[in-house]
Each structure stands twice: as C-alpha cells, then as structure tokens.
Symmetry: C2
C-alpha cells in the first residue's frame, strides 16, 4: 500500500488531496509550548531526539496530517560547518556574520555528522508512523542559509548578502558549494534514517535578479541534488523556491525536483499554466487566511482546491503562524477531506 503523498509525488492525482502544513509542529500547539519548556533553548530542543521526535509527532496525533515534517531548523547546517548560531527569543536567529576570509575555514568534512542527532530524531519518528503518513526530511536552500550566515540575522532586503555575492563571486561560489555539499550529506543521512521525502526550503528566493538567481539558487541546488542522487538516494525531492516569481520557470527546467511547492504569490492556476499538468505541486493556501478564519478562510481553501488540476498535495504558501487557532486548522482539514468544514 503506497502512502497518499508518495502516490502524488509519483504523478498520481488523488480525488482527495493529501494535506500537511509547513510549521504544523510548533508554537500554535499548546502541547508544543509545554514540551518546549523542557529544553534549555531552541537549538538544544532541535538536537534532543526524544523531544524533537515528540514535536514532530504532535500534529500527526492531533490532526492526522498526511505527512510528518521533521522538527528541526534550516540553520543547523551552519552549526555543522562550525559556526555559532543562537536563537534569541523575540528576535530570531543570531549568527556571527560570516566574513569573506571565513569561507575557506568552514569545515565541510564531517559537517553532517556534527548534527547527526537529527538522524536519530528521524529514526524515532519513522518507527512511530502508520502506513498512511509520510515522513518528510528537509534542509534549507543554499542561498537562504548563506544569507543568514552572511547577514548574521534575518533581513528584508538581503543587501549585505547580495553585496557579498557581487563583490566576492569566488568566495560566494565556494560558500554555496560547501552549503550544497553539507546539505546533501545531511539529506542523505535523513533519507537513510527513514525520511521518505526530502524538501529544500529556499525561503528567500524572492527579489533576486535572474543572473543572481541562476548563480546563487539554481546552480548550488542542482549540485546538492546531484550529490544526493549519486549516493543512491531515490526519495522524491520537493523544491520550494519561495517568491521566485519569473525565475520559477528556469528553476523548474534546470533543477531535477520531483515536485514543486508553490508560495502564496503564485496561484496554482498560474503555476500549472507555466509548468504543465504533470508536475506534482504542493500548496498554496494563504497563511494569513488561516489566521483570519471564517468565510475568508473557507473561500481561500475552496479556491486552492478548484485551482489544483494535476497531482496535488494541499499545503500553505508559507508556515503556520503562532496565533493560528486549532479550530481553523480543523475546519480546513474537514473541508478538504469531507467537503464541509466547520468554519467559525
């Protein structure tokens, strides 16, 4: 018996699309908030397999989502490469900004091993899932992770990272290649531990010139996937170049992904018109509609269902926000699965 998400990723269109939500585990769940107090900080939480596995499983128990997504963070890879990452409550991740001369010092050798606690989490979750629920592993896209490393924190314009790329093209290439290779090894480890699907979160693909998109997103992602495939890993891979806009087409043409996750700035109709009806697509309910609820949410869910011709996994266009009401998630799931949700 093949799991629904794997069916879709093999090109099958299901009458009821399987569904999971980005950030389905985490701060909107009271059981997560309770669990989280047991760890010293967020990084510690990610590296403790027992707690991380429990957080991964919480939304499966509560919502019966069709996929469990590994509870981890895209910034574990910089830690594997020898950088310091801290999560400051209320601020988000803080890193020592990477200097040009730091690039060659990044310790690629053994990078994935240094964060291999994550593989233990994957193993534990894998043993708990039933024959309907797919385990998804993930990593960040090389550009997105590089941006955090260079800027030292989240930023809206990514100006420091873009400047780094323009002024130091060789060092930028070396950085992206190291990230691609370390991330590939990390995905390989997750796949071997039991991840059935792999997803690459290029969350900050927006606003890049086509030339920079090619160099900083497409090229290293191609390299990452080649390394994963060379290791004999056959799991489907979902790409998520969020906000890529017009660069989405060249991404889909050049990067060998099994499926594409679509952000909120593109309708599924638009994505289908551009990419065809064969490619498995995932998405793209507006996370803001999930926060608002009621008739706004109902209409938005129906629109995604109506637009999604071809193989489709229902998801958000971005992650679940901490203020999302559990009732809203339940209404969406009922709507998808029974045609009728109890929207309030």
């Amino acid at each position: 018996m093949i799991k629904p998400i794997l069916k879709v990723l093999s090109g099958e269109q299901l009458e009821t699309p399987p569904v999971w939500f980005m950030r389905q585990a985490g701060r909107h769940l009271p059981e997560y908030k309770k669990l989280r107090t047991q760890a010293k900080d967020f990084i510690d939480f990610c590296f403790q397999p027992e707690m991380a596995a429990e957080a991964t499983l919480q939304p499966i128990r509560r919502y019966k989502m069709d996929a469990a997504i590994l509870f981890a963070d895209i910034l574990l890879i910089p830690i594997g490469l020898g950088r310091k990452v801290t999560f400051v409550p209320g601020t988000g991740p803080v890193l020592d900004p990477l200097k040009v001369t730091d690039v060659e010092k990044l310790e690629l050798e053994g990078a994935a091993d240094r964060i291999s606690n994550v593989f233990e989490t994957v193993k534990r979750v894998s043993q708990e899932l039933d024959d309907q629920t797919t385990l998804i592993g993930f990593c960040g896209g090389p550009w997105t992770v590089a941006t955090y490393m260079i800027e030292g924190k989240g930023s809206s314009g990514k100006e420091v990272a873009k400047r780094f790329a323009m002024q130091n093209p060789k060092e930028m290439e070396m950085l992206l290649n190291k990230l691609a290779d370390a991330s590939a090894d990390y995905l390989i480890g997750q796949a071997k531990a039991g991840a059935e699907v792999l997803k690459i979160f290029e969350s900050w693909a927006e606003g890049l010139s086509p030339a920079m998109f090619e160099t900083c997103v497409t090229k290293p992602t191609v390299r990452m996937i080649e390394r994963v495939r060379s290791a004999g890993i056959k799991q489907p891979i979902i790409g998520f170049p969020r906000g890529a806009g017009l660069n989405m087409l060249s991404f889909a043409q050049q990067v060998d992904v099994t499926g594409l996750a679509i952000g909120t700035d593109t309708s599924l109709t638009m994505a289908r018109d551009m990419l065809g009806d064969q490619l498995p697509l995932q998405g793209n309910l507006d996370p803001l509609a999930l926060r608002i609820g009621g008739s706004v949410l109902k209409r938005a869910v129906q629109k995604v269902l109506d637009d999604a011709r071809g193989p489709h996994i229902f998801n958000l266009g971005h992650g679940v926000a901490p203020d999302v009401k559990i009732k809203n998630v339940e209404a969406v799931l009922a709507h998808i699965r029974t045609g009728k949700g109890d929207y309030v």
Copy 2:
C-alpha cells in the same frame, strides 16, 4: 524636435538610450543636502515650490539627465485626503493607521487641490528645462499608498494591509477607488502644469497573490488611468509594478500603460520575452551595483545595454541610495553615452 524620452515612449528605439535615475534628486547630492536644511521638515520641503523645483533641477544641472522627475513624495496624496503624515528622520514616514471606519471620511472632493503647491513646482521646473529634457510627474500606486495608510508606516510583510483587504473587501475597494480618483486628479493637475510623462510607482506590488494583485493593484490602476484619459490628458504613462513577478503579464495586458518600468528581479530579456519587443521598457540597473561601483558596476551596465532590445529608457531597478558616489553615476552616464565609463 521631439525629446529623446518621448521618442522612446512613442515606440522608437534610439541608438543611445536616454537615461534618468529614480531618486536622482536627493540625499546622494551635497547640493540637495545643503538645500534641505532650509525647510522645517521633509513635507514642508515638498510643498515649497521654489525648493522642490530647485531639488528637481539639481541632477539635471549636474548630470544632464534626460528627464527631470518632480521632487515630491507618494504620501502627499493621503495628506490631500485629510490624513496626517509626518517624516521622522531615521525612521521614515509615520501616519495615523487608517481604521475601517475612517475610509468613508476620506475627503476625495478637493484632495488634489489641497496639495496643489506641487503643480506650481511642476510649472517652475517646466519653464527651466531645455528642449532635450523631459519632465516626469508621478504618483504612488493605489495599493502602495493604501498599505502605508493602513499600516501607518513602511512594513516588510504588509500583513496588516493584507488582513484589512481580506476582512473588509468593500471598504478596501472604497479606499482604493478614492486613492485612484485622487491620484488621477493629481496626475491631471501635474500634466496641465507641464509634466510631459506620468509615472505610477506601485513600489509594493511584490508578494501579492494573483487574486489580490488583480483587486488591489490592477483594478484601481485601470480606474486611475481611465479617469486621467477622460480628462483629455494625452501624456504617456509609465507603470511600475515593482516586484510583480508573474503578475506582470496580467498587469501589462489589462492596464493601458505606454511603457513599463522593470525592477531588478526581472531581466530586460525576461521582460522582452514576456511582453514583446514593441513595448517601451525602462530600467533596470541594480541600485546595489551603483553603490558598489568598479568592475561590478561596469558589467551590470553593459548587461542592461545588451539585454535592452526594443524601445528603452535606461534607469535603475529601484532608487539611488544616499551613499551612492557621484563618480559612479558619472561613469554610468559616460558608458551609456560614449561607450566608455571611468569606473573606479
């Protein structure tokens, strides 16, 4: 004798493209910084025709740009509609956030008249320009201005404005219509005072779902332009839906613009492939390259020149930053006009 920019906007491809830069007047110029000290604050500066005209003309004298762009701000329209706007040094614009119940109170009647000092600025500049230099008037796009009004300040995710639009579709429509009408009257006033081209800056067109883009950007912009044309105004209109990504195509198909300004996230090649070789395009040197200078800038300028098949006005993909060196601007202009720039 037709001015070069008007030639391009009538569909002619010139061997040497005419050039001007968004925010060519302003803080990167020492003469502007000196002049600016004479006004009490930024709004006061915009409303004093003598000073605003002088600021408009400064880059023409220094660089012989092919266009003078009116020195003003997209947030004068909310002032015309009866809202309070202040510019806090170091922070940017601050407005009283617009509530749902405020929308019907916005005073459309006479809105453009209340900011008609700007027309006097246009008149003064118009009298000073030679027969080669085009005077461009402008307003903000309805969505961008609405976003500032609702959020009360600049914001990266525009979440408050998007929530307003989703939860109060009728009031949002009324707000956008009032902005479209007031902006149309404002453009008509500028055209009658001597503006030869009109530009609509929809600076925050990025990240919108196609449905919201249609409702919040395309529809009110169509309305604005219809009102301008109904008043007998024949001046060419440049649209600039910055960051529209995949929504650019529907914008170009539905909005009757004479030309399109292209942001940095789209190459001119990509824009041409999508929009054809006939449409006049403006853009799209990366403003970050202008800040960096040297060989990075030289290559970026050459790429824009190489990519720009069809009628083309050279410009940036976004505005000149305050830290841009005058030598860099001069090198770009020499490169475009003589084929050789003195890049340092």
